[in-house]
């Protein structure tokens, strides 16, 4: 299996080093989800209606 996690390391900078100087907000660009939106169109709109489970813990 390809090492997805290495290829997909965050586009945003990592958080602060914990030195107490306060947080620096990552600049988060909107992800490119065009391909994912195409995949979402294939999701059956009624699948949640059919999805029935027993109560668990």
């Amino acid at each position: 299996m390809p090492d997805q996690s290495q290829k997909n390391r965050p586009v945003a900078p990592s958080g602060p080093g914990g030195g107490g100087e306060g947080p620096s907000a990552p600049k988060v660009d909107k992800p490119n989800v065009d391909e994912l939106l195409k995949r979402m169109r294939k999701v059956d709109p009624d699948q949640a209606r059919r999805y029935r489970q027993r109560t668990g813990q």
Binding site: N8, R9, L36, R52, Q53, R54, Q57
Partner: protein, 502 residues
């Protein structure tokens, strides 16, 4: 003061469905799924004799749980299956120290006990890989796809849990723990929630609408020993699975199942650090919510994400401010010279700052923001109304464990998610235990599976030439002792060589 021993693990109930025609028998599917496991392990040897979920941390034992009647009914229904209790449970204890079984009607994966946040995240993801291998195997056998969802609801009022377990010193008085952590648990959903496109109540769908937590609709008690009905914010079950004179197991049942490893790490890591702070400074005061149950749902359902809460004494605050109070306590009290703890605190602080500025800044780390952003993008593109049932179907699909189909995994693969562990580390956790007493359980199973006759969190029994060899794990928490036992198992040529550990 020396930092206390705090170890942790997750137990996650998984939703299951199938592409087969007709109604799905979820119990049968769950049993079949567990039995499709191909990872080496020990089958149906879980020792139920020493379990008692009726014992309460407040010093008494309840006669019955609210779920006992339901369970009796389920067992009566399950009697028609012509399977014994043990066969229905189908417990499998794996070589990585995990437990995998059918809990009522859900496949449940319990990670082994972990000592570091990295271990916990890797083993949680390893469980996803093991479950998906089972689903592929079962789908191939049947020629019909079996689908798995790591979520907490069927959108019709039936919830199932992702429970957290924290081992901590018994010296921390129960009331100090229960009171001190309550406001933290109620407010941590602002980063630990997985998001839901529905409003529900027990056994009922109420209305469409987005909220930040999957589970917050299902709690109506402050404290109790129950877990299936009238669930409490603070669960009082007293089953330490360790020396009861030295340890407690704090059993947290109100959290959501997280897909994002960053969210899993932050949820468990921040909770573990709060527990450490409580142990180190039990006299410190924490915010007290005027109406914790009301706050749980009002925070989750607040469409403006202002998260205002009333405090005891008539003041108001926000969930963010409450979390800042707990963060300050951790900064003041815990030993943050440990790099993993310092990094966790930095991430916690950063998330709170980003949520305060613009919640969408967290869509690369937190499940609820990632899901909301993705589904809203789709909703806009397709011009769907807020009540469209497609939104719930997409919500469900976010939690699908199939890496090539699930929407969370689609986000991850597009590079949109931070904090994803190296897949090689996850793959290793599929077969190898973490650096806790789980090493003893895992290695015994790896090496002498055919001789294991009983397993529990706090002991494992093997059949030796001269009788049973029971290895107690009730006090095995120092890394040095774990290493000594691990070496003994490595050197053993037969179970009889392990008698020195019994």
């Amino acid at each position: 003061m020396i930092s206390p021993t705090i170890q942790f693990g997750l137990e996650t109930e998984i939703g299951i469905s199938s592409d087969a025609e007709g109604e799905v028998d979820v119990v049968s599917e769950s049993i079949a799924l567990v039995r499709s496991a191909t990872e080496p392990g020990v089958w149906m040897c879980w020792d139920y004799d020493c379990e008692d979920p009726h014992v309460d941390m407040r010093g008494f034992r309840v006669h019955e749980l609210r779920q006992d009647t339901d369970e009796a009914n389920y067992y009566a229904q399950d009697a028609a299956r012509e399977l014994s209790f043990v066969e229905i449970k189908s417990d499998l204890v794996l070589g990585n120290g995990a437990r995998f079984y059918n809990d009522h009607a859900h496949p449940e994966y319990c990670t082994p006990e972990c000592r570091t946040f990295d271990e916990l995240v890797a083993h949680d993801r390893a469980g996803e890989r093991i479950l998906m291998a089972c689903a592929r195997h079962l789908s191939e056998q049947r020629g019909v796809a079996v689908r798995l969802y790591k979520n907490n609801t069927d959108f019709c009022g039936h919830s199932y849990g992702c429970h957290e377990n924290y081992l901590l010193p018994r010296s921390l008085p129960w009331e100090t723990l229960a009171q001190g952590i309550q406001a933290f648990l109620v407010t941590r959903q602002i980063f630990a929630g997985s998001g839901k496109f529905a409003i529900e109540t027990e056994d009922k769908y109420v209305s469409p609408g987005f909220q930040i937590s999957q589970r917050s609709d299902f709690f109506c008690e402050l404290q109790s020993v129950d877990t299936m009905q009238r669930r409490p914010i603070v669960n009082t079950r007293d089953e330490p699975h360790a020396n009861p004179k030295r340890f407690r197991r704090f059993h947290v049942i109100l959290g959501d199942a997280n897909m994002s490893p960053f969210a899993t790490r932050l949820k468990v890591g921040s909770t573990a650090l709060i527990l450490e702070a409580l142990v180190l400074d039990p006299k410190r005061t924490y915010p007290l919510l005027a109406d914790p149950l009301g706050a749980l749902t009002s925070i989750s359902r607040d469409p403006k994400f202002r998260w205002e809460v009333a405090l005891e004494g008539g003041h108001t605050a926000t969930a963010l401010a409450v979390q800042q109070s707990y963060l300050s306590a951790v900064r003041d009290t815990c030993d943050l010279s440990v790099p993993a703890k310092a990094a966790l605190v930095a991430d916690w602080e950063s998330v709170l700052a980003d949520l305060a500025t613009d919640v969408m800044r967290c869509r690369n780390r937190l499940d609820w923001v990632a899901k909301m952003g993705l589904v809203h993008d789709f909703q806009r593109a397709q011009n769907l109304p807020d009540g469209d049932p497609w939104l719930q179907s997409l919500d469900l699909e976010y939690h699908r464990l199939d890496m090539s189909e699930g929407l969370y995994y689609g986000l991850e693969q597009s590079g949109a998610i931070r904090g994803v562990p190296d897949e090689l580390v996850v793959r290793r956790a599929v077969t190898q235990p973490p650096t806790t007493r789980a090493t003893v359980r895992g290695k015994c199973i790896q090496k002498f599976a055919a001789c294991v006759t009983a397993a529990q969190w706090d002991h494992i029994t093997l059949q030796g030439r001269d009788g049973p060899i029971k290895i107690s794990l009730v006090d095995l928490f120092s890394p040095e002792e774990v290493l000594r036992c691990s070496r003994a198992i490595d050197a053993a040529r037969s179970p009889d060589d392990l008698r020195i550990l019994s």
